[in-house]
Symmetry: C2
Subunit: 380 residues, 2 copies
């Protein structure tokens, strides 16, 4: 099988190495395409996408340039030419999910993107495999390593948010502009991809109510610790009576749960299957070789036929009205919560059970007014 | 695809239900075979195995009667007739691994046994998938729910071993004769199967040094707790420089590790891959529907071609001489340990680093003399 790799960045180059060292000659890189020369790579260095998609020998195009454009143009050109596509690009997959699937259906090409949600963890593969024999009742988990590093370190050391974020940036876990991680947008995209895969739905990331950890303080963490609780940024999805629920929010777990004990920048993602019950998958959600490994697994899945076409049932509306639990809420003035307050905790309060939809609406209003509100749901 | 289910016990009947409710008519149960009538099942009730294996329409035979005989005869007759086989029978698979594989190779039939090691957890599936793209450097984990229930409950409540075992029996987690669980034989078999699958080796269960938890006391547990340690029964396997290591022993984990926080009768099994690093898989290692689900997943894998033939490289010798760590050891008279003692801990001692091979030899000698010795390795 012949492969073309577009983009030889951290992950793309890693995928090249794994194919070269583990899978050649059964799977071979025939083309690479990158602005840099990479003269050590003994294959055809493509100048444009047409050179790749017009070669009938190419079976799979690996997109690893990231971003929306020209990644979108490269992927659609490949699918239109009947080439299967493998990508880790969560932004692109979550944004163009329906369109890309329709394209792949039309031409019979495969579209695989396991590393886009879970990095090195075979989460989407196992989600797909499990649902063949019974519905996925719900899923949830830690699917962003940067925020887990920050929350885990704040919990262990008592440090404040800003220096911990800075340390994460020094370690290369967080970007110079950390918004996508700390505001939950990265998790939101992965959540959308997981919902779509679990339920053959087509929901857009922006339809998922999402809260991040930008305003969490060491005082919040100390209050949680005083109650034996540990904070993690969590995505959740479920389907019941035809309604899809999905949301992203900081969540408080008892200290002896698996989630509370996920160290550093690792991920732990869980599904609850109709028959199999809870299955959790733990590992590196990012990083050169874990992500590249997952990408190459997708290529081998295409090679061996370990793929399954989704049946898109069309757009689904996100409805979180039936998801109800207590919240910790903290901001300067909490009077707007009125009757919802059940107890004080640290500088914040614990609410009575509130629907996820309502809590996110309340918080959005306050955040839009510039208040540094932080809230976290109880895992209950 | 047509399936025959031999044995409609807890798991076999569960598999029948899942196929009926989730997969028919694409996958259909054409035969069942059981000593009991099960008149509600609308298919052919086979009187003997020949009726099944002589029917060219049957693609897959599910063996769920357990035990070595006549399960062995049924499986070999099926494979010889070119029927694929799915089983959860760890005793049989670990004992006849090489022979059954050779048979399946000769006739082109598939032999799938994911539920035999991990129950509902897709451990063997993911082990197989991961190693396609890079070696499995090691694996380890909690792969027996009964002993995890006992150890977890002793740790949480401070209760003694005997009443906790009794409670496990009342809950249906432990057999009336609990030896296979508490002496580690169940783990030993699953460890052999995992080694064989990870390394294309052929090792027999009895070649794996194995220690159980029969003689653990609440005093041992209290001593571990005083050091922030939690005891779990663990299997380990690895390959380095062509040497295969494999052993089963109680192991002491820091309280904030995933292993220490696996509750009740759950399992957590981990691999370390060359590129992907650590991946862990958590779930129910036993139980009707989890195990039946895993069995049906194997059937669907055969149906969809999601299978991979192992390359048996022949027998491997188990060599644990390079595996070295400290041990907790406790028995009436510890003088035989001589210079190996580093410190006291509770009623026992902590040794200097000792090879796994040596520690298991020492312990076996003492146990054979009727001493109630308990030992546990440090996770280091």
């Amino acid at each position: 099988m012949k492969v073309a790799i577009i983009g030889l960045g951290v992950v793309g180059y890693g995928a090249y190495e794994i194919i070269r060292d583990e899978l050649a000659p059964e799977i071979e890189v025939k083309y690479v395409m990158d602005l840099r020369p990479f003269e050590e790579i003994p294959c055809i260095h493509a100048k444009d996408i047409n050179q790749i998609v017009s070669d009938p020998e190419v079976d799979v195009v690996v997109e690893s340039i990231g971003g929306l454009h020209p990644a979108y143009e490269f992927i659609t050109a490949s699918l239109k030419a009947g080439k299967s596509v493998v990508t880790a690009n969560k932004h692109l997959i979550s944004k163009y999910y329906k369109e890309l699937y329709q394209l792949s259906h039309e031409t019979g090409a495969c579209l695989q993107y396991t590393p886009s949600a879970g990095g090195g963890i075979p989460w989407l593969h196992n989600l797909t495999r499990t649902r063949r024999c019974g519905a996925i009742e719900s899923f949830s988990g830690i699917i962003n390593g940067t925020t887990n590093y920050i929350l885990d370190n704040m919990t262990l050391t008592g440090a404040a948010f800003e220096p911990t974020l800075k340390r994460a940036q020094e370690l290369g876990y967080a970007e110079a502009d950390p918004s996508a991680d700390i505001d939950g947008l990265d998790v939101q995209r992965k959540c959308a991809i997981s919902v779509n895969r679990a339920y053959d739905a087509v929901i857009a990331p922006e339809d998922i109510p999402t809260a991040g950890i930008r305003f969490i303080t060491d005082e919040d963490i100390a209050a949680f610790r005083s109650k034996g609780l540990v904070c993690r940024l969590i995505c959740r999805g479920s389907r019941k009576d035809g309604k899809v629920s999905a949301y992203v929010e900081p969540t408080l777990f008892a200290a002896d749960t698996l989630e509370a004990n996920v160290p550093d920048n690792n991920n732990l993602i869980t599904l609850v299957g109709k028959y199999v019950g809870r299955l959790s998958f733990y590992g590196q959600g990012a990083g050169r070789y874990p992500t590249a490994h997952s990408m190459v697994e997708d290529i081998v899945d295409i090679h061996m036929g370990w793929v399954r076409d989704p049946q898109l049932t069309g757009a689904a509306e996100v409805d979180n009205s039936a998801q109800i639990h207590r919240y910790y809420v903290r901001c300067e003035n909490l009077s707007f919560l009125g009757d919802l307050v059940e107890a004080k905790l640290g500088s914040g309060v614990v609410t009575v059970p509130v629907s996820v939809g309502e809590m996110h609406r309340i918080a959005s209003t306050r955040l839009a007014q510039g208040e540094k509100l932080f809230f976290a749901g109880f895992d209950e």
